[in-house]
Subunit: 210 residues, 2 copies
DNA sequence: TGAGTAGCGGAATGTTCCGTTCCACTAATG
DNA sequence: CATTAGTGGAACGGAACATTCCGCTACTCA
């Protein structure tokens, strides 16, 4: 049972606000990682004080959001690994869920906005390991083209989340559309060789360092 | 013969600076459309005055850059339409050139940063028409899957240009790699239906309006 | 029932950032 | 030479924004 359902009166409203603020922050900073903190308050329908009562600084909020994003990302990957359907179906469903939730994109986009934190680095490593396990599974099932690296897919995921249209009410729909398109070309057998070298894990890891 | 080759002394240096400044501005604003103008000057290796002698304001510079981007984009498309090789080869080569030059991405990313201008709207319309002609050609040759709209491809192109890695020296290579991947899934016959409705031209056009 | 206070809204503050202007200097020009 | 086009970069002014502060409300709990 959530805090907001368990409590009464003032404390209950505060607990509800916890959620409103996190939701608002997710939406605002996903759209624009450099957004002012006042936008978050406005979107949450609360004053600025309600924010500062919870987080000592903007940076702390960003760190918390990033942690939350990484955790959601990891959870989605774990769910994918536990999915008992055939490898390709499970893989597609997992990536669709990640795109839907925006968890990974949030984490990656916010990664540079605060001074790093060993703890977060560990979480990132863990999420990376989970994705690699999922990747290996599809690869070993022979349904993923073998010239695409895990880092390639992570980059592609991130970029799909960057599809944007001002004022559009169906961005999510378009993102799923383009994810589906990309997934089709990721599936074995490959239609043709790709130029350039695959992205390497180190290239991605660089983001989590100072 | 260019001005810088025709002139001598002071005027010649000024003409060279024209080019340095435009090149620097392209690179800087492509990487970050909100970059300060001083970054452009630094990158061009000139002082701020050299910028303000040429453009009355930052907005004027951005407008000029956008115009330039749209013109390059249109030129690349015209070259593609004139390419006599088979439709698919010509199409791929054209999009690769557009990604390489970054012209379209520059224009799209800068589109919201200044008050619009009827003149630019016309240019955008022209470029759009050229792309649609190219699109129609590949489609009619039967090598482009028929559930993908012109606006879909424009959005995908833009997003491929957003692939980024801090400090990487091979971003261009990666972008070409992912463009190739996307192109494989754009080719007929389609591997499967796509979810969602195709992007419409109006959705894109909205960007060029105030 | 009333003093005490958690929680809050939003104005005020201090600072950083950045577009633009200004001025002094250099060297081509005529 | 005197003039001035072209320039580098410091100085200025204003906007944006994180953070702090203050006064208010309405729970809480004796």
């Amino acid at each position: 049972m959530s805090d907001s359902a368990r409590l009464d009166g003032r404390r209950r409203q505060a607990s509800v606000n916890d959620g409103l603020i996190l939701d608002a922050a997710r939406a605002v900073f996903l759209a624009d990682p450099a957004a002012p903190i006042a936008d978050v308050a406005r979107r949450a329908g609360v004053g600025i004080s309600a924010l500062y009562r919870r987080y000592p600084s903007k940076e702390a909020l960003l760190r918390e959001l990033t942690r939350d994003g990484l955790q959601r990302f990891a959870a989605a990957l774990e769910a994918g690994l536990a999915d008992e359907r055939d490898a390709w179906t499970a893989y597609c469903a997992t990536l669709a869920a990640v795109v839907e939730g925006g968890s990974q994109a949030l984490a990656q986009r916010l990664a540079g906005t605060f001074t790093p934190d060993a703890d977060l680095g560990d979480l990132a490593t863990r999420a990376d390991g989970l994705y690699r396990a999922l990747h290996r599974r599809v690869r070993e099932a022979g349904v993923l083209r073998d010239d695409v690296s895990a880092a390639d897919v992570i980059l592609l995921l991130e970029v799909v989340m960057l599809v944007d249209l001002p004022d559009s009410t169906r961005i999510g729909e378009l993102r799923q559309r383009y994810l589906a398109l990309v997934l089709q070309s990721l599936r074995a057998p490959a239609a043709g060789a790709l130029p350039g070298a695959a992205a390497g894990g180190e290239e991605l890891a660089a983001r989590w360092q100072g």
